[in-house]
């Protein structure tokens, strides 16, 4: 089986394979994004970009735990005006480049999208759990999510994905709001609220005190969110959370993901995209299946 059997059409974008670099991970510069495309990502998502330059939270901003990572970067970015140039460099890679954008209200999203043109799609970050009035502050309110999505769709001439937070009572309701607002896909999940405290001193370790949990720890939570969203939504679901190998990717796709994003796992292997892609191809060959056979398979097994 050759790579082309992993070809994935996703909201109109053509991906050589269904693995995508997740937002905020090695996505600060154009050349970093290009490097990740070169190491096998089927598409790449940029760092979340806002209106004004922002240094983010104080260090420590990220560290590894026994079973995952905590981060509170605080949405550092040089502003969309400054980032435009990086987007151009990223696009040299040849893979679809999705610009992640964040704002506090619909107008901000429109402004950034208009100013950051050239992306192959936009991912609306309404889900960062440690960004004050951004991120989760908006992403837990279905009305706001719908409005933001609608505004973004209006501003964009390319697909709009909405990235969801798991830190809600009902992620499906938020996904439905995004769909109603016109989203072309939802991305689930962003990090889980979490924190760690230094027992030698009593200080919270993150500069921001609390942050977002990612990596293997959240994988079962992400699988459940994707499973629930797939069951109800008509638009594609992109799965993210703790994917580190092809088995994790297969599981996420069986839950209903049409494609997967990978973030924290670059820590252990910068070539994780190639590894997942090779493993996935081999898996499908061994099982004599194609990608479509596994997407949502868990639903078909138990009778939807």
């Amino acid at each position: 089986m050759t790579r082309t059997d992993l070809f994935t059409e996703l909201t109109g974008l053509a991906l050589e394979n269904p693995t995508i670099l997740a937002a905020g991970v090695l996505g600060t510069t154009g050349s970093s994004l290009r490097r990740m495309a070169d190491s096998g990502a089927g598409a790449v998502v940029t760092k979340s970009i806002g209106i004004e330059p922002n240094p983010g939270h104080r260090n420590p901003t990220m560290f590894k735990l026994e079973c995952g990572f905590l981060n509170a970067m605080g949405l550092p970015n040089p502003s969309y005006k400054e980032f435009r140039n990086e987007l151009g460099i990223a696009k040299e890679s040849g893979v679809p480049v999705i610009a992640s954008v964040f704002g506090a209200h619909p107008d901000e999203f429109s402004q950034i999208i208009a100013g950051l043109d050239g992306a192959d799609a936009y991912e609306l970050n309404v889900s960062c759990p440690h960004a004050g009035r951004y991120g989760t502050a908006v992403g837990t309110d279905p009305v706001l999510v719908e409005e933001i999505t609608r505004a973004a769709k209006h501003a964009a001439s390319v697909p709009v994905w909405v990235k969801l937070t798991p830190n809600v009572t009902d992620i499906v309701g938020i996904g439905e709001a995004a769909q109603k607002g016109g989203a072309d896909a939802v991305v689930a999940i962003n990090t889980l609220r979490g924190m760690a405290i230094d027992i030698h001193s009593g200080y919270p370790i993150l500069g921001n005190r609390f942050g977002g949990l990612s990596g293997p720890a959240i994988h079962p939570v992400a699988v459940k969110c994707v499973y629930d969203l797939y069951q109800v939504l008509e638009i594609p679901v992109i799965g993210v959370g703790g994917i580190a190998n092809y088995q994790d990717a297969v599981e996420m796709m069986m839950a209903g993901a049409r494609a997967v994003q990978i973030g924290s796992a670059v820590h252990d292997s910068i070539t994780v995209f190639n590894e997942v892609t090779a493993g996935l191809a081999q898996y499908l060959e061994d099982k004599s299946m194609v990608l479509d056979d596994i997407i949502g398979l868990a639903h078909r097994k138990v009778g939807l």
């Binding site: 050349s31 970093s32 260090n59 901003t61 990220m62 981060n71 970067m73 970015n77 040089p78 760690a196």
Partner: protein
Amino acid sequence: MIPHNAVITEVIQQTPTITTLKTDIKLEALPGQFVMVWVRGLDEVPMALSHPDSITVQRVGEATVALSGMRVGDSIGIRGPFGNGFQLKGTRIMLIAGGVGGAPLLPLALLAHAKRLDVTTIIGARTGNELLFEQPFSQSGSVSVATDDGSKGYHGFVTGLMDRFDLESFDQFYVCGPELMMKNVLNMLQVKGIEMRSQLSLHRYFKCGIGVCGACTIDPSGQRVCKDGPVFQADMLIYSELGKYHRDATGKKIVY
């Protein structure tokens, strides 16, 4: 890894602006690897290990001022060691240290000496009393010093001093110091066609320190200074941003 609690066991004033902190945590590290040093309640910054149990800090801003003011019994958080470190190659090597850049080079000098390599160290500083580790470097081989103001040793930059050596006779050059100094050293080696014999330890703004966030990546390779580096061979640096610009905490380019 969450930060280890490192209690300071000794404070050594190296120069008017540089202080070594010895701690009760000894890390097995390669020369050139670094740790993330957490000043609780304030900030976390990268620091080379100048010894398995020590960091050597130059006072430049909030975190380094706080570190420089630490006393025996105070504690810091330490994550690491991280990064790749230097690789010993050949039998005759030159170390070129500018300012606090001597910190990651000192353990390299000690290791090279233990392995019976012929070590020549060039130390540069703004002024004589800012020369770092002159004495400990001299225990591993010959040392020459250069000062910008001529108050000690050669009057001028380290590159001027390097000119006095038969550079082709060295198998490898190890460089750490201010970026423009490193760029000049690299240019000089390039002119002689021996730039591939060099390993340079870079500084960039670090957030995660573990290769995930992307804050420290360099153009155009996208290499992560914190994980693929901080030590790079010349090929990664020659056609790079080195000496041209770096990025601040927002990711914005700051031109040198």
